[in-house]
Amino acid sequence: MRSRGVNLPPFQALLDAHSAEIYRFLVVTAGPDDADDAFQETWISAIRAYPRLKRADNLRAWLFRIAKNKAIDAHRARGRRPVPVATVPETPAASTELDLEEPELWAAVRDLPPKQRAAVYCRSVLGIPYDELAELLESSRDAARRSVHEGLKRLREEWTP
């Protein structure tokens, strides 16, 4: 049970510090209907891997990376699930819309490719620095910057106020 090497804080400290922002991220990226499940999957994956972590200096990026992947899984699962033909939704998780201003804009965010979706939210809303964003997206710093740029460009093209 004892961990070796890095001195990891109690897992509860990660939840206290990051559960709310991870939840919001999942509401946006996985959609309100799947946010609860994706949240559970994210934190279960995290606690499973936690004792084996080699570094404890960027736990936030590590958690967001897991959450990003769980949001992708949620999308895939939703794609496979049978949906009554008459009510096939245009956007995957539009059934319980949140009380957000500009719901179409948020629907457009959810329709972005997964990497761009995570990049836009983490950069434009959370202001996560590019170094951390690169780690989170499992890409280079330049690629992270491109994902944000492409995502915003696409939103601007597809959404008109």
Binding site: L8, P10, Y23, Q40, R48, L98, V125
Partner: protein
């Protein structure tokens, strides 16, 4: 570009500020089911102040008084496992037995104990201490002798002072030879309270 970013930021301010009620509890339950929860903890109220209590799948591992509670979770993470979660429901049994004890309805605890926070001579001393019944007392010299080192009276005192599971492992029942109270990890006024509660000291 900026207009979109501004709208996103403004909209995001309306996202939920907290996770839905019960979600963390469900997470802890699932982690436990999947064998991923090594240490659960909770806070509870008692007549001797707030207590922080922790258990592992093996049993009750730690009780801390308020004055020791600050680094509680960090210590558990460092000494046992970083898979530590606040999971009050997993400590329901501990809470129930402690409540019964403080209400005078229980003299012996039936909780399984996990001794992994104490080792060697210290553990021996504490295991003998666990045998002292409600309303009785022992001495530091006696505990040293029973642990196999009759001359290590001071070390026996240190073992009792470092007791990771006070109250349930009743180190408050160990006094100086001659009857003086001696010290107590949670402060001597708590020791006095517990002995008075058990009828050893006249109320």
């Amino acid at each position: 570009m900026n207009e979109i970013e501004n709208l996103l930021r403004k909209g995001a301010a309306r996202l939920p500020g907290e996770i839905p009620a019960g979600l963390q509890e469900r997470l802890a339950e699932r982690a436990a089911r999947e064998g991923l929860l090594d240490v659960s903890y909770a806070e509870l109220d008692s007549p001797v102040g707030k207590l922080a209590v922790a258990s592992t799948p093996r049993g009750l591992v730690r009780i801390a008084y308020e004055n020791q509670a600050e680094t509680f979770a960090e210590e558990l993470a460092a000494k046992l496992s970083p898979r530590v979660l606040r999971a009050p429901r997993r400590l329901d049994e501990v809470r129930r037995e402690l409540d019964e004890y403080f209400e005078g309805r229980r003299q012996e605890f039936d909780l399984p104990l996990d001794w992994s926070l104490t080792h060697g001579f210290f553990r021996k001393v504490l295991r003998h201490t666990a045998q002292i019944g409600y309303g009785s007392v022992g001495t530091y010299a006696e505990m040293a002798r029973k642990a196999g080192s009759p001359r290590a009276v001071r070390a026996a005192g240190n073992a009792l002072g470092a007791n990771p599971i006070p109250i349930v492992v009743p180190c408050h029942r160990v006094l100086r030879t001659g009857g003086a109270l001696g010290g107590y990890g949670g402060g001597v006024e708590r020791k006095e309270f517990l002995l008075r509660h058990e009828g050893v000291i006249a109320a």
